[in-house]
């Protein structure tokens, strides 16, 4: 086992291209997950029993099955019914949908944590349903959720290598193609691992700060 620094510098530009796609997929996936999660959380609170139940079951199903198979499903099954998606779009939808079911639980807990009195006060002030949500409930519910949401986005970041299975050219895929071209696995694979380790160690610091900033609920 010998480590070759020259080879490392040679493959670096290729890997950095992969890093860009990895980060792009994470950001887009996080935005989608934040929206999907809110949608699921609101649908589960719906007055309509059928909507609430079926969305609940759907979310449960997505959470109980592997992301990889869901990505395959989006990438291979949807074209058969006429929806042709580029790999990156399919990947982002997969990530957003999968993690949306997790963030939905965060939203649920956050909304349940808003005291009953706030709902009653909104009603007493004669606010409409939409105004109650946008002006009273969500502004109080969202800040305490931010650390938990960030936690899931970091978890999502660590799952992005799965996108290589549906031919997205992100970091892992670039590393694999470099490794297969030169038949050297040590450097590319180790660099990918080191990259993820560094980012997630940094994210621990970020999480601490977020918890300090937003974690406390004012009573």
């Amino acid at each position: 086992m010998d480590w070759d620094w020259n080879f490392v510098w040679e493959i670096m530009p290729t890997l950095i291209q992969g890093v860009k796609i990895t980060i792009l997929a994470t950001i887009l996936g996080s935005i989608l997950a934040a929206i999907v999660g809110l949608g699921i959380a609101l649908a589960r609170r719906s007055e309509n029993r059928i909507v609430a139940r079926s969305v609940g079951w759907f979310a449960e199903f997505i959470r109980g099955t592997p992301l990889l198979v869901q990505l395959y499903f989006i990438f291979y099954v949807l074209p058969d019914i006429g929806i042709l998606l580029p790999p990156l779009v399919a990947g982002v939808i997969g990530l957003g949908l999968h993690y949306g079911t997790y963030t939905a639980e965060v939203y649920r807990a956050g909304i349940d944590n808003v005291p009953r009195g706030q709902w009653e006060a909104a009603k007493a002030c004669n606010l409409s349903g939409r105004h109650t949500w946008t002006h009273i409930i969500l502004p109080q519910a969202i800040p305490p959720m931010i650390p938990a949401l960030a936690n899931y986005f970091i978890a999502m970041f660590k799952e992005t290598p799965l996108l290589s299975a549906i031919t997205v050219l992100e970091l892992m895929n670039q590393a694999k193609s470099v490794a297969n071209t030169y038949y050297r696995y040590i450097e590319p694979m180790t660099l990918v691992g080191a990259f993820f380790l560094v980012i997630s160690l940094c994210s621990v610091v970020l999480l601490r700060w977020l918890e300090h900033r937003y974690g406390r609920i004012e009573r």
Binding site: T65, V69, F73, Y76, M172
Partner: protein
């Protein structure tokens, strides 16, 4: 229509591999979780440091990268693993790191008075742990262990990418042989979901059995 039964047989074979991986991975994860979790609350600095390094490392890099590293890089260091061995190793060590934090949290959640009672009864550290602390902590750990086991089940799908013939791999085989996409992927998703339901049901049953006789102790 008759050929579907053949393909279904293929998928069920994959399900057996997935179950096998989940069981073996869980056993390794459980061992690692207790070793590292108790290491984290040890008196000795060196044990704490080793356990923390292990946990941070395996939680920081994604399971996919670890698996590829175990399968492609370790052979260069003279340690050749079969896909199954690499899969069990990566899954067990990865999920073990997550579960170790559960073990640590559960041990710390046992009240101070229990430790004081151990001292009062003149129990050694190990005896107190074995007879007083762990039996109570185990019950706290169980529900989260169930979630970890489901995460492990979902993570097994990744081994299909190092050519181990699990559920996901067989779905790809069926897809490439028949050109049909909906049938293999949907049936595989349903099987994964059924397995996840079995795990959560099993853990709930176990929890009820273990809680028996502890009613007076738990507040």
């Amino acid at each position: 229509m008759t050929q579907w039964s053949g393909y279904l047989g293929l998928i069920l074979q994959g399900a057996l591999v997935t179950i096998e991986l989940t069981l073996m991975g869980s056993v390794l994860a459980l061992i690692m979780a207790f070793l590292a979790g108790m290491g984290r609350v040890s008196r000795f600095f060196i044990l704490r440091a080793i356990a923390t390094a292990y946990i941070e490392f395996f939680r920081g890099t994604s399971i996919f990268v670890q698996l590829f590293w175990a399968y492609f890089v370790l052979p260069f260091a003279g340690l050749s693993l079969t896909p199954l061995q690499a899969g069990v190793l990566a899954l067990g060590l990865n999920v073990g790191a997550y579960a170790a934090e559960v073990v640590r949290g559960a041990i710390l959640s046992v009240g101070r008075e229990q430790y004081e009672a151990c001292t009062a009864l003149n129990l050694g550290r190990w005896q107190g742990m074995r007879h007083v602390i762990l039996p109570q902590a185990l019950l706290v750990m169980l529900p989260t262990f169930g979630n970890n086991a489901i995460e492990l089940l979902k993570a097994t799908s990744v081994v299909s990418l190092i050519s181990l013939a699990d559920l996901t791999f067989q779905a790809q085989v069926v897809r490439s042989q028949t050109g049909s996409t909906l049938m293999p992927f949907l049936s595989v998703l349903i099987i994964y979901f059924a397995l996840a339901l079995i795990i959560s049901w099993g853990v709930r049953t176990l929890e009820r059995r273990m809680a028996r006789g502890l009613d007076g102790v738990r507040v």
